[in-house]
Symmetry: C2
Amino acid sequence: MEILRVELGNRSYPILIGQGLLGERALFEQHLPARDLLVVSNTVVAPLYLGQLESSLRPRRVLTTILPDGESHKTLANVARVLDVLVANRFGRDCAVVALGGGVVGDMAGFAAATYQRGVAFVQVPTTLLAQVDSSVGGKTGVNHPGGKNLIGAFHQPVAVVADTRTLATLPPRELRAGLAEVIKYGLICDAGFFAWLEANIEALMAGDGTALAHVIRRSCEIKSAIVGRDEREQGDRALLNLGHTFGHAIESATRYTEWLHGEAVGAGLVMAARMSCESGLLASEELERVIRLVARTGLPTHVANVGPEAALEHMRIDKKVQAGRIRLVLLRGIGTAFVTADYAEAFLRRTLAAHLG
Amino acid sequence: MEILRVELGNRSYPILIGQGLLGERALFEQHLPARDLLVVSNTVVAPLYLGQLESSLRPRRVLTTILPDGESHKTLANVARVLDVLVANRFGRDCAVVALGGGVVGDMAGFAAATYQRGVAFVQVPTTLLAQVDSSVGGKTGVNHPGGKNLIGAFHQPVAVVADTRTLATLPPRELRAGLAEVIKYGLICDAGFFAWLEANIEALMAGDGTALAHVIRRSCEIKSAIVGRDEREQGDRALLNLGHTFGHAIESATRYTEWLHGEAVGAGLVMAARMSCESGLLASEELERVIRLVARTGLPTHVANVGPEAALEHMRIDKKVQAGRIRLVLLRGIGTAFVTADYAEAFLRRTLAAHLG
């Protein structure tokens, strides 16, 4: 088992990464002191892993709430269902919520934990690559609104993240690829060496090679926890983690969260961020080609036909990254060097959208 | 105008208290830098003060949402309405929410601000005595759940509190009395001199004497901001502010928030906390009598006939103050000296409930 720490003063917490952690009762006893626990999972993950997790959590009181699977179900109504269960069972402020599943489950369980009695403990047990490398770390919780992605939510840090890499064995290939989009993102924003390593090892990763996957999970969590430790509430550096996400959120919103996985939309978004950087004269065209090639080799979309450029622009305007009416974007000066800006020519943005959408 | 400060590091903010502040445009320009503003008010307060506030906020973009009046409307569904307006009008993360009204409006507007885009600025403009002395200060936001009071919410500090004492002129006497319950609470928890001053001046306060009201608003905000500055998230001292509230919340919940104002329930709750302290041998019976007398002179209930002791106990068990299954209570060692405990005889609690309920 490897242990990383997210350093946030009295809200610091460990990220535990290893094979078979779901079955380690001592680990949950150590990191989760609550006696009343609500495990939130979904209809796909629960049949696979809920039994094992429950027996690791007993003999404490363990209740479960199973939500429908998929980003289109990440709604305030489903969070209200979790809150209803907590109230109905008279859980006190000293209870804990455990998220067992991917990013959607983690975001909703975390938001319920953030708002129940103004905040109770929660533990992330991510079972997808995307959740293990990204969404389970950093305390962003929330739900979608018909008007836009993640528009309702809270910052609420978990007390621990338990990433059992064995759960990736049952992950559908499409979900694995979606997770790799976020991994590629880390290389692009701050680690050119890691990006090159991904170029050399992408086939092994897609084949589910355990050693290669363990490496990308650790390196991704290292990068993310360092950034979150510097800037918990996204006043500065943390915004770099949104590379590709403003484009990606627009794709998700425009297709009502039903057509593309978050990671797939991010994959296309990374290509668009690189294209826009190239159009703006910041990124060399060879580097743009490397980005497109790696995203394509990962089996992620580089072109999204079912969203038009105008529709995407509409959705980008309600994204959280809008400030003083300007859409803020993360762009690249090179592979491994990202920055945030609202100072760009609208024409480059339109040309970028036209090149990869519709 | 008087200015107090709530000291919370980079989340510190001023409390501005004075006559006619609603009309002072310069003050809102200074303390509220956002260009997009959503004013949340209710059907009673809006006709009286919304026009004046709006003209003080212009020429910025000012939208309004008018919610129904009353504690029974403090629901997640109404917060969702506020969020819908923010999304529909494409408000960015740099917008602000302004709460114009009493505690119910402040709690809901604050919770919407806490959760919109994971937190936007908000300003409290309290128009009731209860909101000016208590609920607008300290960052507790949230809504009720059918299962219990304030069970869903967040800590989210305002960027400023603007208390225009002139708004108290239109406050119904019943609302004025409800606010005085919280004022009496401050004397009981930490200021015996203030409690004695209230005994000497309660008639002037109930008659709406401006000087007397200004004094209690300032002193109440001083006490509350000092406690919140020491313990923002209620890990310790802040729990003292809940004196009478566990009893009061049970009365409110048991009557579905329709029979008693929050302050009225707190009035009865203060008497019950004092009774329980006396039963436990902590508080002299003369001091209990002083508490009962002052609450009664204020026109607040000392006995609540339409809630039975058993029903109240049921509702107390789901209150946020329950820890490890024990109901934590704030009790008195004397007027001006309160403490939190879960170590008391259940018989005293039952005797207390029987004496003042049913």
